[in-house]
Chain length 290, copies 2
């Protein structure tokens, strides 16, 4: 039983005559191979990565499990090759999800002039150049009645650096309302961003690897943040998880670290640290429980 994913926040969406990802009920995610060499290169990355013994075990958990490729009936109704991956959202109930494209530059050195010009324009218009990353999409679970806070893509594509700061706070707040001028309460910050299993700790583990690894350059990749508010409210762990996705533009590292990804990752880490630090300071002042 194939269906359109419930919790997609960015990327091409399947629809009538439109090619997009599908999921099944066994926890697999079917991503149609993109046109041109992108699709082939993404499949090649997964093949390379899944068999590369230089990738440490503690790093593999940040990547979706890869099950190969499969030609199958696509969302358009016609046969198309797909990359078969782990469905990251399949075991989650009402997951809050954020997709963040990392790097101040989303093109690789070998790209064509035309492609570089197109990417550079988007990088300059978005927060990629200023922040070293940009938001590609998000959904934040509010409650069963209200459902999700899920700003539309046009809105997300236009936001500036200050909005990003607010949205990173909204993501862990009980009041992620539509208005950017409402102060988010960050009531879930310590459970989701903080702690030994929180998002910050995972980002720092990835950072340590990126300071050393020279195998791949992750051009235009995203990190995905996921957690479940319901679990936190029940006093359980938030099940916060960081994953890397979207590998259509990965290139060989050739003995050089991915300084573009690393720089953007460090910038994102600083944003998350700042939120936790603000909470800590506020807590010290006795105004908020963290």
């Amino acid at each position: 039983m194939l269906k359109i994913p419930d919790h997609q926040v960015a990327g091409h969406e399947a629809g009538a005559g439109k090619l997009g990802p599908l999921v099944d009920d066994s926890g697999r995610f079917y991503k149609p191979l993109q046109s041109g060499k992108r699709g082939a290169e993404e499949a090649a990355f997964y093949e390379s990565f899944s068999s590369n013994t230089k990738v440490p075990e503690h790093i593999r958990k940040y990547f979706p499990t890869y099950y190969g490729t499969k030609v199958m009936k696509a969302s358009t109704g016609v046969e198309h090759p797909h990359i078969v991956l782990q469905d990251l959202a399949s075991t989650r109930v009402n997951p809050s999800i954020m997709d963040i494209k990392i790097g101040s530059r989303t093109w690789g050195p070998e790209a064509s002039d035309a492609y570089i010009a197109k990417c550079l324009e988007r990088d300059r218009e978005s927060t990629s150049v200023t922040l070293g990353f940009r938001l590609s999409g998000l959904q934040v679970f509010i409650n069963n009645e209200s459902g999700f806070y899920k700003p539309n893509r046009d809105f997300i594509h236009k936001i500036g650096p200050d909005d990003v700061r607010v949205i990173l706070r909204k993501f862990v707040s009980s009041n992620p309302s539509e208005k950017l001028d409402t102060a988010p309460d960050c009531s879930l910050a310590s459970s989701v961003y903080g702690g030994t299993n929180g998002i910050l700790a995972q980002l720092l583990e990835l950072k340590a690897w990126f300071e050393d690894q020279t195998i791949y350059h992750f051009n235009a990749c995203s990190v995905l943040f996921m957690f479940e508010k319901g679990l936190v409210l029940n006093g359980a762990s938030s099940n916060a998880e960081v994953k890397l996705i979207d590998f259509a533009h990965v290139t060989e590292g050739k003995g050089v670290i991915d300084h573009n990804f690393l720089g953007g990752l460090c910038s994102l880490i600083k944003f998350i640290s700042d939120i936790l630090e603000t909470m800590g300071h506020t807590a010290t002042n006795g105004q908020l429980e963290v």
Copy 2:
């Protein structure tokens, strides 16, 4: 007594009718204000930096001391405003020096389209995009008879990633000959790059600051490596020093870390670590003393 500096490896050089830096015999370096807003912005940076209480003391040592600005007879013979700085080479005998421009991007987000296009072209042609840094110039002391290994600028502007790796080895070798295919012996690597006061330790101290500081973005800045071979051969410390220079394109950080500088710095750190690691491995094999 003003004169042209003996040990300049990059940037505009003073000459007949040409504006360039001068030094005096009291250890001061006079840098002519560049045309347009660059000169004014570099002076403004030094003013801001020298009085900024948020800059930690242990970080100030990585910047030249600033003594203000002065209108004086320039190298062209006519009056011109200069930035008065500490002459970093004044107390050194036969210093080996390398100037490395940090960042895969040498333009700031507020630059004009024309300026961005010009910088982007240079960044792509050089190793800036691939490595996150590029060499701007160097001199390596050989001995009194042979003087310095000092490749000319045309050569330096054309070198690729592999050449950079070789030159970073030549810089700490007793045989920095003209040919890139000669294996550098790296005999000075552990004294210059390694150790608690070596260049790697200093770069790591800077890195820790760049992971946190959101005051300035150091667009198109260079790090300077300096040491004295004579001291090492006499069994003394190499007096290895890292300095940041060239602040004509510094912009405000606005609460965001300088992810572009940090990424490039981490890439450079990896290159230096790799050299030390190779030496360590070689030493373990008993083939070389480090």
